[in-house]
Symmetry: C2
């Protein structure tokens, strides 16, 4: 008669995946400082020690989430580069992808701001991530402009900024359309019309 028989014990990989999903949602809502192991455990239908059995510690939990996102990101970036030919198309593909996963965009928006302070457990991760991203953009732009590093910063800033505004007001701000308009001016003098 115990109704929760439907969720007995899961194999480690499956449970871990569930933990990461739940944690992603909760960090997006409350940030890492506002996250409690109890809430994550509740969201997974197990006890706190049960949760700790899988992730070891709260920092370990954050690390698991970020590692998982990193894998997914690398995969999707490869796809975007594979399908698209120009820097502009690659950026548009990234934005389109983000427009379909607001939870994850919010996770990164919150963590990116929270981790500005050096003591944050994700500080180094995000510092490295930002550098990698900027280098990636700059590489794509190196033949299109005399200042690829500067343009890369502006592209990344515009993407991040639009995302935050869109997250706060998704009803009135169309992320993809806004990026399209932004890209129009960013790439106007850069992107030679070889794509037409």
């Amino acid at each position: 008669m115990t109704l929760r028989r439907e969720r007995p014990r899961l194999p480690a990989a499956e449970r871990r995946r569930q933990i990461i999903d739940v944690t992603t949602r909760l960090i997006a809502e409350r940030g890492f400082w506002g996250l409690s192991m109890q809430d994550v455990a509740d969201g997974c239908g197990l006890t706190v020690p049960g949760l700790l059995h899988h992730v070891g510690s709260k920092d370990g939990l954050l690390l698991a989430v970020l590692d998982h996102r990193d894998e997914a990101d690398v995969r999707s970036l490869d796809e975007a580069i594979g399908d698209a030919s120009s820097a502009r198309e690659i950026c548009a593909a990234l934005v389109r992808r983000n427009a379909n996963q607001p939870e994850i965009v919010r996770l990164f928006a919150v963590l990116q701001a929270e981790s500005l302070t050096p003591g944050h457990p994700a500080h180094d991760y995000f510092a490295a991530r930002q550098q990698k991203t900027l280098e990636g953009f700059a590489r794509l732009l190196k033949d299109l402009t005399p200042d690829p590093d500067g343009v890369a910063v502006r592209i990344a800033a515009m993407m991040d900024g639009l995302q935050v505004h869109w997250l706060r007001n998704p009803a009135e701000i169309d992320l993809v359309a806004q990026w399209e308009a932004a890209a129009e001016m960013i790439f106007r003098d850069l992107d030679p019309p070889t794509g037409g």
Copy 2:
């Protein structure tokens, strides 16, 4: 012989000002979820109930900080509008001001992301702030472009995005120069060369 005589009891206004300063710094570092009344009290050299005597509650503390910032913002915006004539000059003045107060920029960057979730005590404040900001930009732009709302979003997004990148890497990213380059492309077709 008690050495701490140098900081006895302060008049309410002065103490309140100190509390706001300390809280601003701490929220910038850890966010509101990560802020503890104990830390604020320690930073002010008094006990937690002493602190609560002035602000009533943790939410009251946040409100005090935001109210104070609002006043300062209104004042500085008036100055910017008074001195500058064009929309572009007003934006540049805002950016220059922000470049000189990284702590406060960080406070807003962290709170803006944290308060995306509706339950956050500053959620409504930031929603209203974003709307007011966008309306202000749009008003400045209404004679310069057929889509003032859209351009306003892009301007705000670029400012916010550049600020976050600058906060993480102030050594390599020059906020004012980056904004200048961004403004160049944003205003290229808008700003009629009447200013020359």
